[in-house]
């Protein structure tokens, strides 16, 4: 391994870990703010550190401190298997975290003729890895539910287990349809396939090439991650909190964070498989590298526009009601953030100008393209996470038998039919 390869590997691993772990507080915050949006209220936005509220993200850190300092209550009726009772949330969390590691954040970076993958695990069988590792997660739920020695927990665990079994089948079959279409099990090759077009103008995104399989994939992943409308395993109106009933403090927080990591992973898989991953449609990596100066100039125009809109939005919204005199440091926060944003924009512009006019190295260009693709990936990831959250706050929960019926009676036959049609079409095209 060369030095460059080691640096890229370490950097992508750090990026993967950061994207998986640092999105947890952001997602918790987004969940509460989007809930506020849906219910026409504000959500948490007062917590601050020295006047900095960042729209309320600081609240998540206060929550973490609360969960860490809470009393570690241990139910006394649990006689045997304490260690497994403690281990169960960790299994769920680690499985969700590891499953995220196969996602590519950008196209392969070519340094001195050596192509390096920008994903935490540089493997070319990503979808296989995801399917294998994510199936471990439910084991933590089942262990936790069983060892709680509590009827509600047991019901929740049984529900979670049977739901995973019923939705793993349509999930696997819909993924199989994508594998037939893309002709690969490599996430990166899937994204590269999606940067092309079909019928001459439509982007070859999975949702347009395979609409039925895409819908089945999204629905099954909602079920796999235990998100609404499939929260039957922890349906608080029926079975208290399901498998989480006996869990407190940090043990509960592990389940809680595991759910958000799983949601993040599911969003990443969905955008990688059916929404073009880190690519912008119609624009492939080669095209960006060939026309780098055009790309850089358009970035130079677009970034200040976006930043201007952001700053104007912040100046308009980041204030208390006019009738209240004390602003609680909000003007100061707005000022500092404005300066920071303008400074960063100027820095990016300077780097782009340097790359276009002064630098001759193509390596710097490809690193710039890679960074751009990472940004695109993160933006898409966050958009799809918001979609997950919006669904949670706008759709009521299914009854348990309806969940099973949807899985077995509708999704499974549809996925099977889709595979047959896909196979016939693919073979027919290749003839």
């Amino acid at each position: 391994m060369t030095t460059a390869a080691i640096i890229v590997a370490v950097a992508s691993f750090a990026l993967g870990a950061l994207l998986a772990l640092l999105t947890i507080p952001v997602l918790v915050w987004l969940e509460r703010r989007v809930a506020g949006l849906v219910q026409d209220r504000l959500g948490p936005n007062r917590t601050n550190i020295g006047g900095f509220r960042l729209g309320g993200v600081v609240q998540s850190f206060a929550d973490v401190v609360k969960l860490l300092l809470k009393e570690e209550y241990y139910p006394s009726h649990i006689k045997s298997g304490r260690w497994l009772f403690m281990l169960a949330p960790v299994i769920t969390f680690v499985a969700a975290l590891l499953a995220f590691m196969a996602i590519p954040f950008a196209d392969t970076l070519v340094i001195n003729g050596e192509s390096l993958r920008i994903s935490a695990l540089p493997i070319n069988y990503g979808i296989f890895w995801y399917m294998a590792i994510s199936s471990i997660g439910v084991l933590g739920v089942i262990f936790g539910g069983w060892l709680s020695h509590n009827k509600y927990s047991l019901l929740g665990a049984a529900r979670a287990g049977s739901m995973v079994i019923s939705y793993e089948l349509p999930l696997g079959l819909s993924i199989l349809a994508f594998i037939i279409t893309y002709d690969t099990i490599d996430f990166n090759a899937m994204v590269q396939f999606q940067s092309g077009t079909f019928f001459g103008f439509l982007p070859a995104w999975g949702i347009l090439v395979q609409p039925l399989a895409a819908i089945i994939l999204i629905v099954s992943l909602f079920a796999e991650t235990n998100r609404n409308p499939f929260t039957v395993a922890e349906g608080e109106s029926e079975i208290v909190a399901g498998f989480m009933t006996e869990y407190t403090a940090m043990k509960f927080a592990m389940y809680f964070m595991g759910e958000y990591v799983a949601m993040n992973t599911a969003s990443a898989v969905i955008i990688t498989m059916i929404f073009g991953g880190y690519q912008i449609s119609w624009v492939s990596t080669e095209m960006l590298l060939e026309n780098f100066s055009v790309f850089a100039f358009s970035l130079m125009v677009i970034i200040p526009l976006i930043i201007t809109v952001l700053i104007r939005w912040m100046r308009k919204n980041n204030r208390v009601r006019p009738s209240i005199k004390a602003d609680g440091g909000r003007d100061f926060e707005t000022k500092v953030l404005t300066i920071a944003m303008v400074g960063m924009t100027l820095l990016v512009e300077a780097i782009l100008i340097y790359l276009v006019f002064l630098s001759e190295s193509s390596l710097a260009n490809s690193i710039a393209v890679t960074l751009f693709q990472i940004v695109v990936f993160v933006v898409k990831l966050m958009l799809f996470n918001i979609f997950f959250i919006l669904i949670r706050w706008s759709v009521p929960r299914f009854r348990y038998d309806q969940v099973q019926k949807l899985g077995w009676y509708y999704l499974l036959p549809l996925a099977l039919l889709n595979i047959i049609v896909t196979a016939i079409v693919v073979v027919g095209v290749s003839l």
Binding site: G81, F128, W146, G161
Partner: protein, 171 residues
């Protein structure tokens, strides 16, 4: 040296998991032992650089077999006092493990000379795996599927007897 230490740790996990599965009274701990043994086995495959087998092992044994057996355990919800009384359990386990030792050695000798294509697949090439499965290995593949089919038919027959009986009692 590193390989040997990793191998020893994995082997310890596998042995411990298998023994825990056999010895434990509570069925869920047996399932956990099975889970540990299976993950250890997947680790063995990964140590041999056959990533396809390692991931397939996790996907099939952990994702399907362990989850299904745990679901069965949850559904049956057997109490410890309802389990059969086995006074000579440990003697039988020791005796049986001595008994299968020559057979295990025979299997090891015969399979170590087998076709090494699956075992040396460093990067998973799904096309090669598919073509091998449906050309050279099509007979074992079909035999395995017949085995699964017979198991499924057997399960349905066993379950159906209960259903028919309860229906007969009701009417």
């Amino acid at each position: 040296m590193l390989e040997i230490s990793i191998f020893s740790i994995l082997a310890l996990f596998m042995l411990g998991g298998s023994i825990a599965m056999l010895v434990n009274k509570q069925t869920l701990f047996s399932a956990f032992g099975f889970l540990v043994a299976m993950i250890g086995l997947a680790g063995m495959f990964a140590l041999l650089d056959s990533r396809f087998l390692a991931l397939a092992q996790i996907m099939v044994s952990v994702g399907a077999v362990v989850v299904l057996s745990m679901l069965t355990i949850l559904t049956i919800n057997a109490k410890e006092e309802n389990l059969p009384h086995e006074p000579n359990k440990y003697k039988w386990i020791a005796f049986a493990s001595l008994l299968v030792l020559p057979i295990t050695l025979l299997i090891y000798k015969s399979t170590s000379a087998l076709y090494a294509s699956f075992a040396t697949m460093q990067t998973i090439n799904s096309k090669v795996v598919g073509k091998l499965l449906f050309s050279e290995w099509v007979l074992p593949f079909e035999i395995v599927s017949i085995l699964l089919l017979s198991a499924m038919v057997g399960a349905i027959v066993i379950a159906r007897k209960d259903v028919v009986q309860t229906q007969g009692e009701e009417s």
